[in-house]
Symmetry: none
Subunit: 203 residues, 4 copies
DNA sequence: AAGTAATCGAGACGGTACGTCCGGTCTTCCT
DNA sequence: AGGAAGACCGGACGTACCGTCTCGATTACTT
C-alpha cells in the first residue's frame, strides 16, 4: 500500500529519524516490475517472487511497504497508468456525462480494463487491495460525478430530489457489471444509451 | 462443471455404455462438501484437497468432472441454494421490479452474497467458472427481467423504444457494483430508488 | 506370472470348465505390448496402464494372470528374447566357459542388458518378479554351468573338491556385479581373464 | 546428494556468502528421519513425503539439497551406519581377505544388507543414487582391496600378472550376486571358500 | 569518530495447495 | 465365466508461491 506518502508528508522538512532511509530506487523498481508483469501476464503473473526477482529486490523489502501482492498491484497500476479522469464541465450535463462514460468504456475495453477486472476480482479476498482501489480509482470518479450532477441540479437541469448516489450507480454500475460479468460487450452505443435512459426514464 | 446432466437426460432410455457408471454418491458428496466449505470459510477454504478430503473422494474424481475448483464451487453453490427467483408478474411493473430487486438485495446481504462476490471475483481468472455463473445465475435473471419489461412495453407502460439490455443493466448493475466494490451498502431504500429513477428519469 | 502353461498342458482335449475360455489373443497382446514398452522406455515405461492401453486390454485382465507389473515384464522379456543359452560342451572346459561367458557379456552390453539390470533391480521389491527371474533366467544357466563343471571334474580337468556353487558365483557373479554397479565396463578381455583366473588361481 | 560437505570444507575460512545459511538442524533431521524410515520399512517407506513429515521439514528443503529420494536414502544410510570397513593388513593375504569378506557377509545378512540390496536395486533407475553409492560404498572397498592385493603381489605372495580388477570382482562380486539374486544364501563357509578358490584356482 | 538504528540483497525455510500419475479395486455391460 | 471399458480411492510425485527467518552489508542520523 506504500505508506511512504503519509509518513513523509508531515512537516515538509523531511523529518526522518535515524537509520538508513527508504530506498527510492527500490520503490520505483518494484512498481515498474509489477506494472510490467501485470501488463504481460495479468495479476496471476505478478507474484511476489516474480516482482522481487524482476525488480532486483528482496521479497522482504516488498512486504515491508505493502501488505499484500494485490496492494502492490494497484499501486503499480496507477503508477503506470496515472489515468486521465478528464474533468468535463461544459454546462451541458448530457454531453459531460457521455464524455465521461465514453472515456471509461474506452479504458475498460483495453488491457487496462482486463487488469482492472482482475484487480476488482482479487479485491474480493484482499481488503488492502479493496481499500486502495476505492481510494485511488472509485472515489475520485464518484467525487467528480457528484460535482457534475450537483451542478446540474443547481442549474435546474435535473430535478432537485435526485438521489445522487443511486444516479451514479445507475450511470457507472452497468460498466462494471459488463466488465466483470461479460454478459454483454462494452460497445459504442452504450454511453449515450445510458445517459439518455438516465435523463428521461423509461416511462 | 458437472457434465453429467445433459448427457443422461436425453431420451430417458438411460444410455450408459460399458464401464462402471459414474457414482452419484460421489457427485453429491463433492457438492455437499464444497457447499459446506464455501459457507464455512468462503472460496478460499474450498480447495480441491479440502473438498476431496471432506467428501471422502479422490482428487482425480473431482478433476474428472469439473475443470477447476471454481467450477465445483458454482455447482455446489447452486446445488445448495437452488435460489428462488420469484416470478413476479402482477401487471404493475414498478411493483414487480421492486419485488425482484428487493429479493436480490436480500440475497446479496447475507452469506450467499459474500460467496457470490467471491465467485464473481474468481470468475475473472477462471473462464469455466464465469461461463457457469452466467448460465446458472445471470442468464435466468436476465431472461425473467426481459419478459417483465417487454410485457410492460406491450402493455404501454413503457416507451416502445426502451433498450431492454441497458435497462436491465441500469436496474441490476448497481447491485453488483455495490456488492463488489462496497463503496456503499446495499440498503433498504435502494430497490425503490432504483425503480423510481429508472421509470421517471432524472430530468 | 502367466499360469496358463499348466492349465492347458493336459490331454489336448481341452477340458476347460464352464465359461468363456481365456483369450490367447489377449495374452499375446499383453506380452507384446509389455515387451515393446520395455524396449522403448525401460521398466519405468511398462506401467500397467500403458501395457493395458497398448494391448487393447483391460487392466483387470492383466491382474488376473500376473500378480505384478514386474511379473508381466519378465514374461514379456523372455517372450520377446527367448534367449539362446548355447550349450557348449566341446570337452575343453576353458573354451566352453569362455564361450558361455562371452555370450552373456554380449547380451549384457545391449538393450537386453539394460532391461535385465532393471529387472533385477525391481526384483528387490517384487518377490514374484524375483521368483520368475530365478526360474527363467538364473536357474537354467546355473544348471548348464553345473553340468559343464561337473563334466570337467569327472574328466579330471578340475580338482574333485571344487565347490561348484562357489565356482559358478565366481565365474558369473562378476558379470552381474559390473552390470548392476557399473564400477567397470563389461569389456572384451573380461571373459578370458575370468576363466583363466578361475582355473589357475592367483598364487 | 547433500552438496554441503565439499563446498564448505575448503580452506577452513568458512566462506558463507549472503543469505540465510543452510540449516544444519534440518539436514540432520532429514538424514535421521530417512534412516529411521529406511530401517522400519525399507526404501519403499522412505518417501519424500514421509521423510519431510517425520523430519518436520518441508519437501522443498529436501529437493533443494538432494536430487532424488534415492540420494537422500544413501546419505541417510551412511549417516546412520558409518560402516566400519576394517583395514586388515596382517601380511597374510588369505587371512586378511577372509576377514574382509566375512565382515561384508555379516553386514549383508542383516537389516543393512536388505537395505543395501534395495539401494542397488533402485540405483538401476536413479543415476544420482548410483553415483553416490559407488562413491561412498563401492570405491572405498575397492581401494582397500587393491592395496591388499597389490601388497601381496609386491611381497611375492601372488603372481605379478594378476588382474587386480578381475580379482576383486571374483572375490566380492559373488557376495552382491547372492545378495541381489538370492539363488543361494550368504552362508558361513562362503568367505573361506571364495578366498581358497581365488588363491589356488580350480585346476 | 564511534555508536546506533533502520534498510537492503540474498536466500533458506516450513507450509499449503496444486495438478498429475499409477496402482489396485470396483462395477456394469457384452460376448 | 471371461473380458473390455472405465470410474473410483489412495498415495506419492515434483512444483509454485506464500510469508517468515536469518545473514552480512549499507547508510544514514546521534552522541
Amino acid at each position: 500500500m506504500d505508506r511512504s506518502g503519509a509518513g513523509r508528508s508531515g512537516a515538509g522538512s523531511g523529518r526522518s529519524g535515524p537509520g538508513r532511509p527508504r530506498s527510492e530506487r527500490a520503490r520505483l523498481a518494484i512498481l515498474d516490475a509489477a506494472a510490467d508483469l501485470l501488463i504481460e501476464g495479468g495479476l496471476a503473473a505478478a507474484t511476489m517472487e516474480a516482482i522481487a526477482a524482476r525488480a532486483g529486490v528482496s521479497k522482504v523489502t516488498i512486504y515491508k511497504w505493502w501488505p499484500s501482492r494485490g496492494a502492490v498491484a494497484v499501486d503499480a497500476y496507477f503508477h503506470r497508468y496515472r489515468p486521465e479522469m478528464g474533468m468535463f464541465d461544459s454546462g451541458d450535463l448530457a454531453r459531460d456525462l457521455t464524455a465521461q462514460i465514453t472515456l471509461m468504456v474506452d479504458a475498460f475495453r483495453g488491457r487496462a480494463g482486463a487488469i482492472m477486472a482482475e484487480l476488482i476480482g482479487a479485491a474480493q479476498t484482499d481488503a488492502a487491495l479493496a481499500d486502495q482501489l476505492r481510494a485511488l480509482w472509485i472515489q475520485p470518479r464518484r467525487d467528480a460525478g457528484t460535482i457534475l450532477i450537483q451542478g446540474a441540479i443547481d442549474r435546474g437541469e435535473l430535478r432537485p430530489d435526485v438521489d445522487i448516489q443511486v444516479a451514479l450507480d445507475q450511470l457507472f454500475g452497468p460498466l462494471y457489471f459488463r466488465l466483470l460479468v461479460r454478459h454483454l460487450p462494452l460497445d459504442d452505443p452504450m454511453p449515450a444509451a445510458l445517459v439518455r435512459a438516465f435523463l428521461d426514464g423509461a416511462r
